[in-house]
């Protein structure tokens, strides 16, 4: 199955990609997919405990299992909070 992964902010800078189409053999959770991407992009590692996930534009738990055609967004901490 195919999953599209979207990168934002520092994750985009690290991956040097806006998005990535991934071919996946078997069912995987959003969190496990992120862990796998840490192998491809070692600098992702330090965001492991703070990254959030959205599937098809809806926030979800890291345990959410991905389906074929899903769009997974990796959401670093959002930065509205500091400048207010």
């Amino acid at each position: 199955m195919t999953v599209k992964v979207l990168f934002f902010a520092m994750l985009r800078e690290i991956s040097q990609a806006d998005e990535l189409d991934l071919e996946i053999e078997k069912a995987i959770s959003a969190g496990d997919l992120f862990d796998a991407l840490c192998n491809k992009y070692p600098d992702f590692e330090k965001y492991k405990s703070i990254v959030s996930f959205a599937v098809n534009s809806e926030y979800c738990d890291r345990s959410q299992v991905l389906n074929d055609g899903d769009e997974l967004a990796l959401i670093p901490p959002i930065s509205g909070g500091r400048h207010d």
Binding site: F8, A9, S57, I75, P76, I78, S79, G80, G81
Partner: protein
């Protein structure tokens, strides 16, 4: 009116959206880029967003505000891209029959926007550029708390 834009925000057109003969009070919030953060001088800021989800999250927030307060009209505009000191990055406008409701709904929208809407900012300060240290968004932070 909920809009994500890469252009300068036109306040007059937003205010026009709040017109409603039954509305006696309009509360407006304008977020501008200020020249300092944590004691350091800020020159400019690059706003980056997951636009499709910004739109859907803002629509949810607007719906929540309408469910909680008797909102007549409502406008939310968020600007992305590079912005300089004094530039307007976000505008929230709410018109209601009475002012208390307008204030509360407007404040709810900006507060919730900052907790849920996927936006990131890279700050360009005198001592270098850095992604602003953000918050784990509200709906998902609970999973990290044991």
């Amino acid at each position: 009116m909920i809009e994500i834009t890469h252009e300068k925000i036109d306040l007059d057109s937003i205010l026009a959206k709040t017109d409603n003969p039954a509305a006696g009070g309009v509360a407006l919030f304008i977020g501008r880029l200020r020249n300092h953060a944590n004691g350091k001088k800020v020159e400019k800021m690059e706003y980056h967003g997951y636009e499709k989800m910004m739109q859907s999250e803002l629509e949810k927030i607007a719906a929540e505000a309408r469910a909680e307060w008797p909102v007549r009209e409502l406008a939310i505009v968020h600007r992305l891209g590079m912005q300089y000191v004094g530039d307007t990055s976000v505008v929230i406008a709410v018109s209601c029959d009475h002012r208390a409701e307008a204030f509360e709904a407007c404040r709810f929208i900006i507060d919730t926007l900052k907790k849920k809407v996927p936006v990131w900012k890279k700050e360009y300060r005198s001592d270098g550029a850095e992604w602003v240290n953000g918050k784990i968004p509200d709906p998902v932070w609970a999973q990290y708390v044991q």
